[in-house]
Amino acid sequence: MAKIAVDPVTRIEGHLRIEAQVDGGQITEAWSSCTMWRGIETILEGRDPRDAWYFTQRICGVCTTVHALASVRAVENALDITPPLNAQLIRNLITLSQFVQDHVVHFYHLHALDWVDIVSALDADPAATAALASSISDYPKSSPGHFGAVRAKLQGFVEAGQLGPFSNGYWGHEAYKLPPEANLMAVSHYLDALEFQRDYIRIHAMLGGKNPHLQTYLVGGMAIPIDLNSQDAINADMLSRMRVLLQKGLDFVRQAYIPDVLAVAPFYLDWAAIGGGLGNFMAFGDFPMGGANPSIAPDDLYLPRGIILGKDLSTVHPLDPLKIDEYVTHSWYEYEGGDTAPLAPFEGETKPNYTGPQPPYDFLDTDGKYSWLKSPRYDGHAVEVGPLARMLVAYGSGHEKVVAVVNSVLGTLGVGPEVLFSTLGRTAARAVETLVLAERSLEVLDELVANIASGDTAVHEGSKWEPSSWPATAKGFGMHEAPRGGLSHWITIKDEKIDHYQIVVPSTWNGGPRDGNGVGGAYEAALVGTPIADEERPLEILRTIHSFDPCMACAAHVIDKDGKPVVEVTVT
């Protein structure tokens, strides 16, 4: 029996530490700790609510745009502003392309090395690799010559003796199961995906000026104008360049991402029974199909909203955002009324209270407080959020496209939907979602073109732009499905300024510590039962944790440094 710590957990965004009790080659208990905090919500207090999106977007540069969007939705909800349809469509396009880019980067650059042994690729036969690649996909770079060049590049890299980012990987670990040819194919696509993500995301520069951290969000709409007769606005030229990029994205997902997942999965089917975790799933839903604020119009969303409890796909429960609350029992914060009961976001209070060991330290005190994350709960339930939650809620809701793609993937692998509740299921769900949303992105572009063609060029609803037009107090929330799961921002505005701001983040739902009832979050639950072949090289922990795609900069936050009560007004 041994307690181990993985810190830093790499190939994620931010600072995550996992401690685990290993007994008989299996994890019996696990603790998830975020080890960084900035206090962004405290910084927001007293500022102009129209600036909030620009501040909150900096919560994360990997999930860029997501906090900007949730923020403008929160302010629009508070002030009862409905952005023009064009603005909603542009926001959808930005978000959809973010999903495609972010999921591709996650699979190839953050997750793949958990399954792919780079060193083994040196033993691959280029001709056999080409045969393998051609058998699963019509991806163009699949010739023996190409794979020979990739192998030579890798050979040279290793022989030069500077392994750089590949130094000290778990190469040769017994949990790596892929044949050399599959490893070489994956290395080739790892390199291609590096170039792909850079080129594809230029769509964000077109619509947002730059990526990361786009700069065209506005409370009430978007700052990128539409004018078919101007060279300084969305015009036919930009629309056609966007179409080319979106199509390239769909091609890459169809020709590389999906086939690669289907090729790798059969070697790791044991991981379809590992890492299941909580069995409760929550999706806020997203991609409004009209102009309404998705926070308050859940029936108008392309991906549906709902809750699944106890792995029961037959019932998708309705979701009430006001049933969300957060514990700090094991978090480095303190509540004025005691740390055992949770508080809802609008009533939130938080004061940092670090009680951990003084650095440098070997282990945290996991019986006490041990993370900068809080423990959010829905109606008392610990729930998982993210691609798997979204796909399960859509699947359970009978979403036609999602049902078709999920069934096709399950059929190809010869397995039933029960395997989705696993580490492998999480990774497969992300791929399924990427395909569904890459296809959706071209449909949304068509809708934008059609709406512009109908003569609508509005991008901003400006009647409440001036703070003098606002009520003395207002509060609202903005909900968004970020690539890593359901995200909500909660704002209270008083006398034209931010009085109170809170953010409940996907990686907080998944990566938070135990709550007041001793119930852990999704990471902690999913790690229990995970096999560990070598305690010194816990590759298996990385597999399950990476299947969630953690984002810790997003997850760590604080509500209100003074813990003062917020004003009482009706949610609009």
Binding site: A5, V6, D7, P8, V9, T10, R11, G14, H15, T35, M36, W37, R38, T42, I43, R58, C60, V62, T64, H109, Q155, V158, A160, G161, Q162, P165, F166, S167, N168, W171, L194, Q197, R202, A205, M206, G208, G209, K210, N211, P212, H213, T216, L218, G220, A223, P225, A233, P352, Y354, Q358, P359, Y361, W372, V459, H460, G462, R537, P538, A553, V558
Partner: protein
């Protein structure tokens, strides 16, 4: 296969050849870098020579109170491509977001790189100092401890993004964690600031290449920023400047002026107070930039911009940190004439502004190789 056990001998031409990078592509890349560095075309040759004569420089990339936005930006680097830069031109020996190793194996890879010395330290994110630095720990040690360790024996510390350059968002009022810049921690090693939110990939790459090509730091301004990237006001090289001079302003989002690319000054653009080469090199392979897309500049490469440039939609004279009281009617005179002289030597102007607004200090002058005046003449020599 552990790092440091194999001699580092291979030169770039062999690596490039084996990597299948054509020489023409490589030279084009060097030309791009020369352009970013504002050097004559002939310098592409010097850059190529420098890159070919060295082994891959070791880069230890540290992430502290960050959002990984600068990492993402770095991964958007252009020709010859991010894969070649990350794998063949640089040796990224430690970088939490991309490295294969985790836990103590990751820390061991870093220790090996540091033991060898002569490395570059790239810092992303601010460093918290309140409560002994408990607000950011990695492998049980504080960011503060990690940075002090890594800087020892380094060739230079490159602060990428506004958080590591100036404290950035975590240091915005009321700075709950006591966040500071890399230069506030490091001593005895030159610190280069590449602010921006995030830093532009072209400027990160160009800074590394400048060092490899010329064997020293690029000339820096009073805020520790390379003149090649931060030597000009956005307002002076903005594609919309003619509209400013003609008095054509956007007055409302989506109005005729907005649709036709008029000046965004009245919508809160901070271009007149911001030094950065965004208008020249743009973003994402030269695709666009914020003003080009229709939103004003928020001044993200200036120290303390979170406090001094906000509220972001207020016109410049009303912005608290700017230190100039003026009505909108006189702004035209003020921007075109009144501040031109001051900004011509903005190293001085900025330090005055800093005193006025009580911002945390930027890099201590002792961390730079030379003062602003010498640096300016260095640039003239190039």
């Amino acid at each position: 296969m552990g790092v440091g056990t194999v001699a580092r001998v291979e030169a770039l031409p062999d690596r490039l050849a084996r990597a299948g990078i054509e020489r023409r592509t490589f030279l084009k890349y060097c030309g791009t870098l020369a352009a970013v560095l504002a050097l004559p075309d002939t310098y592409a040759r010097n850059i190529a020579q420098a890159l070919q004569s060295v082994k891959k420089p070791s880069v230890v990339w540290l992430e502290f109170q960050d959002c990984a936005g600068n990492t993402e930006s770095f991964l958007r680097t252009r020709n010859p491509g991010v894969a070649d830069l990350v794998l063949d031109i640089l040796s990224i020996d430690y970088h939490e977001t991309i490295m294969a190793a985790a836990g103590h194996q990751a820390e061991a890879a870093k220790a090996a790189a540091l033991a060898e010395g002569g490395h570059f330290v790239v810092v992303e994110g601010s460093i918290p100092r309140n409560d002994s630095g408990v607000y950011c720990t990695i492998a049980g040690k504080t960011a503060w401890q990690h940075l002090e360790e890594a800087a020892e024996g380094a060739v230079a510390v490159i602060a990428v993004g506004s958080c590591s350059s100036f404290g950035g968002l975590p240091a915005a009022s009321p700075n709950p964690t006591g966040a500071v810049s890399a230069a506030n921690i490091v001593s005895g090693v030159p610190v280069i600031n590449l602010p921006g939110c995030p830093a532009n990939a072209d400027n990160i790459t160009a800074t590394l290449v400048h060092f490899l090509t010329f064997g020293g730091l690029p000339a820096l301004d009073g805020e520790g920023r390379p003149l090649f990237a931060y030597g000009q006001r956005i307002h002076d090289s903005c594609e919309r400047r003619a509209h400013f001079d003609a008095g054509q302003f956007v007055a409302k989002w989506g109005d005729e002026g907005h649709r036709n690319g008029w000046c965004l000054y009245k919508m809160g653009c901070k271009g007149p107070a911001t030094f950065h080469n965004c208008p020249a090199i743009r973003w994402n392979e030269g695709t666009s930039w914020p003003i080009g897309a229709g939103h004003g500049c928020n001044g993200c490469s200036e120290p303390g911009f979170w406090d001094t440039m906000s509220p972001f939609y207020e016109r410049l004279p009303k912005v608290s940190g700017f230190g100039v009281e003026s009505s909108a009617d006189t702004i035209g005179w003020w921007l075109t004439g009144g501040t031109a002289a001051a900004f011509a030597a903005h190293g001085v102007a900025k330090s005055v502004q800093r005193r006025v607004t009580h911002q945390p200090p930027g890099p201590a002058s002792g961390t730079l190789e030379s003062g602003p005046d010498e640096q300016a003449s260095e640039k003239g020599g190039v």
